[in-house]
């Protein structure tokens, strides 16, 4: 048993939500996974309310984990601005990508996202006219540039319509989803081409 526990990948949850006190879904999700032994929960808005990110500390955190979960609501078809700032600041040239930038090689990036719009909207024939996979391409490509695998995102869509029971059920799914790591490789970006060495 003990051996199995150490075999578990270490998971870093990067939680990005500017108003968690107004949230239903994301808060339930956080509450559901907070006590898992192999995860490190990291609340970005709580840690960096003035958007000044401690790059060295974040890089050290990344190095000591195997899986990076970005948990956030989907806003303006992307992540909250602090998470983008985190990517801009922490994933430095020469560290995460570029010449000598191989610190994150072989680690996994995955997202746990809630969207306001229902899943039907994120189809080619839906009102957005575009799929989640396409919208998440910037994250998937970022992972690839860092030599990371990009896992299948965990989505909860149409959150406004969800009943409390569904929200709680989703939070439990999130928990088992994290507990089940390492996941088999059937991910969105797995068949995407690797970035050629000279372009990294």
């Amino acid at each position: 048993m003990g051996v199995q526990v150490t075999d578990k990948p270490k998971i870093l949850v990067l939680f990005a939500h500017p108003y968690p006190h107004l949230s239903r879904v994301n808060r339930a999700m956080v509450d559901a996974v907070a006590d898992l032994p192999h995860i490190t929960f990291h609340d970005l808005y709580e840690t960096y309310p003035d958007f000044h990110i401690d790059v060295k500390r974040e890089q050290a955190l990344l190095l000591s984990h195997d899986v990076v979960v970005m948990q956030h609501p989907f806003y303006w078809y992307s992540c909250p601005s602090l998470l983008k700032e985190w990517m801009d600041a922490v994933l430095e040239y020469g560290w995460a990508y570029g010449t000598g930038g191989d610190a994150l090689q072989g680690k996994e990036l995955v997202q746990a996202i809630s969207t306001g719009g229902p899943d039907e909207a994120y189809r080619n024939d839906g009102y957005n006219g575009i799929t989640m996979a396409e919208l998440l391409r910037p994250f998937e490509r970022s992972a690839a540039l860092c030599g990371m695998t990009y896992g299948t995102p965990l989505l909860l869509q149409g959150v406004r319509m969800k009943k409390q029971l569904e929200v709680e059920a989703h939070a439990q799914i999130y928990r088992s989803w994290l507990e089940a790591y390492p996941h088999p490789r059937n991910c969105v970006g797995c068949d995407a081409p690797d970035v050629p060495e000279q372009d990294r």
Partner: protein
């Protein structure tokens, strides 16, 4: 009643006219009162003639002054000061008495007269000396503390002096001895009552009074206690001021201290003003006209002798040269207790009426010179002494640094360290030699000098620098520097530290482009941390703080536009602003709650 009203109008009018003029002329308020007194007194306009009564009544200002000072010194601090009080005070009183007695003896007075005069003249005026010290916030400096110690010792020394006088009398006064014993017993009893009452009775009394919620009764109680103590001390033949001081010390640790202070303050101010006015009136200009040589000669001799003794004491006590001057000038005059002592000496027949009148004029005139000497010290002596004392102003080398920082206290230091860390060349000016020496050890390049001097600014490279950071401690120096820089170096961008709101307003009047209120941001940070401590998320607390900050900065602009309006308008404005802020914050909260439905989940 008419007479009282008339007198009050005369005093108030004299003060209201003379004091602002004197202040504007840079002479200080004390001299203003003295001049006002001299003008309305029996020798010029003859509006007031009963000087004795006024002087006696207004001595109460000194009593209240000492009460307030006592409130700021608790017994522990007083105990810590016991050696300065005994050493400096004892040295001053003994030294001055000996020197002055010798002078009187040389003038041909009998030794008893000379000694009585010497004792009286060795005392200085607590009121006159403390006013400039408190006005300039110098009581905390070594010079200020020493001066205070000496004044305190003098107040205590008056008691044995008064007891000693009858013994000097040529013919022993009847029952001198038994009177002395009774007097001593009375004195001990009075002080015991004050200590016991101050410790055990006043606090419960104030609690009962405070519970009534009647503010004027609280004030009345405070005045009653001080006046009661003064009366008791007088009956016991002790210094009223000393009793009030003791009472103040005993109440210094009570929870009512600040309330007492603010209640007594206006009475103290007015009565002290009246006291100075009375001193001005009591100058016997008749004697000055009939014997100008003698009077002026004695005044000069008194100031010179006392000044010399004080100077020696200051040197022995290793006081910095720059403070020695003020210390010497402040204490060199005669004091109000001299009037009491001379009166007593005349009463027991040691002194003739003529001698008493002569010495009284001398003391009064010397008191009038004290504020003048302070002005002279400020304008002429101290600037020079500061240089002799420590070092000449440095001539900063113009190294072509883009930034000049004036003021390297706890504020300027942070600014400079931030710039240094980013390898930006900074020329630093400060006028505190201690700070400079410490910081030079840490390889900071700091130049000694007064930044409000044009030549120093020029030497520091103000003509070529880009930014001037005004981080000096006082509003006065800050504004003087801003004016100077704007006039001579219009290309220099000014970044200024504002001590408080009025200072910020003055800087805004001068169109300083960057003004930072020194406590504003740190107070915001504390507020933000408090919101977080209450369980709000860091980001929400941050946003609320920034909203408040933005609002407050807008309010600052509005306030500035109305700064010269009546206070009432400003209060209304602030009230409206507060209501608006409330609405803004609530609207903000609603916006966030709406966001929940729109996607933040």
């Amino acid at each position: 009643m008419d007479g009282l009203l008339l007198n009050a109008v005369i005093y108030l009018a004299a003060a209201v006219i003379a004091v602002p003029i004197a202040k504007r002329l840079g002479l200080g308020s004390v001299l203003g009162y003295l001049i006002a007194g001299a003008i309305v007194g029996p020798w010029v306009l003859k509006l007031i003639t009963d000087v004795e009564a006024i002087l006696h009544f207004s001595e109460f200002g000194v009593v209240l002054l000492l009460f307030v000072i006592g409130l700021e010194l608790n017994p522990r601090r007083l105990w810590q000061m016991r050696w300065p009080i005994l050493g400096l005070g004892g040295g001053q009183v003994v030294g001055c008495t000996l020197a002055l007695t010798a002078l009187g003896y040389l003038l041909g007075w009998p030794w008893q007269v000379a000694l009585a005069a010497g004792l009286g003249l060795s005392l200085s005026s607590t009121a006159i000396a403390l006013q400039p010290l408190t006005e300039r916030n110098l009581l905390g400096t070594p010079g200020g503390r020493s001066a205070f110690s000496i004044l305190l010792f003098q107040d205590i020394a008056v008691i044995p002096m008064l007891a000693l006088l009858p013994l000097l009398a040529f013919a022993p006064v009847n029952d001198a001895q038994s009177e002395g014993w009774i007097g001593a017993a009375k004195a001990v009893a009075a002080i015991a009552i004050i200590i016991f009452g101050g410790r055990y009775l006043t606090r419960p009394l104030f609690r009962i009074i405070a519970e009534t919620g009647l503010r004027e009764i609280f004030t009345a109680t405070a005045l009653l206690i001080v006046m009661g103590i003064a009366l008791m001390m007088q009956l016991a033949g002790l210094s009223m001021a000393l009793g009030a001081f003791l009472a103040g010390v005993l109440l210094a640790e009570s929870e009512y201290r600040h309330e007492l202070e603010s209640d007594i303050e206006p009475f103290k101010g007015l009565l002290l003003g009246l006291f100075f006015t009375a001193v001005g009136m009591s100058v016997d200009f008749g004697l000055l006209v009939s014997k100008p040589g003698t009077v002026i000669g004695l005044v000069v001799a008194l100031l010179a002798l006392k000044g010399t003794v004080l100077f020696i004491i200051a040197r022995v006590a290793r006081m910095p040269m720059s403070q020695t001057a003020l210390f010497t000038f402040l204490l060199a005059q005669g004091g109000e207790f001299a009037f009491v002592l001379f009166g007593a000496a005349a009463g027991v027949g040691i002194m003739s009426q003529e001698t008493e009148a002569l010495l009284t004029v001398v003391v009064a005139l010397s008191m009038a010179t004290a504020p003048l000497l302070v002005v002279i010290n400020d304008k002429l002596v101290e600037p020079r002494f500061v240089q002799i004392d420590d070092r000449p102003h440095d001539t900063p080398e113009d190294e072509g640094n883009p930034v000049i920082v004036a003021g390297f206290g706890r504020f300027g230091q942070i600014v400079v360290r931030l710039l240094y860390a980013n390898r930006i060349g900074v020329t630093v000016l400060d006028h505190d030699p201690e700070i400079i020496d410490t910081l030079r050890q840490f390889d900071f390049k700091v130049f000694y000098g007064d930044a409000t001097r044009l030549d120093l600014l020029e030497a520091a490279g103000a003509a070529k620098a880009k930014v001037l950071v005004v981080a000096v401690d006082t509003q006065e120096a800050s504004l003087a520097l801003v004016d100077l820089a704007k006039q001579h170096f219009p290309n220099l961008k000014i970044v200024a530290r504002a001590r408080d709101l009025p200072h910020a307003m003055e800087l805004m009047n001068r169109e300083v482009p960057v003004i930072e209120r020194e406590t504003f941001r740190s107070a915001l940070a504390v507020g933000e941390q408090t919101l977080r401590a209450l369980g709000q998320t860091a980001y929400a607390a941050r946003q609320k703080t920034l909203t408040f900050k933005q609002h407050n900065e807008e309010l600052l602009l509005q306030l500035h536009a109305h700064w010269d309006d009546e206070i009432g308008t400003r209060i209304t404005l602030q009230r409206q602003a507060r209501a608006r802020l409330q609405q803004n914050l609530e609207a903000d909260e609603k916006a966030q709650e709406n966001a929940r439905g729109l996607g933040w989940d």
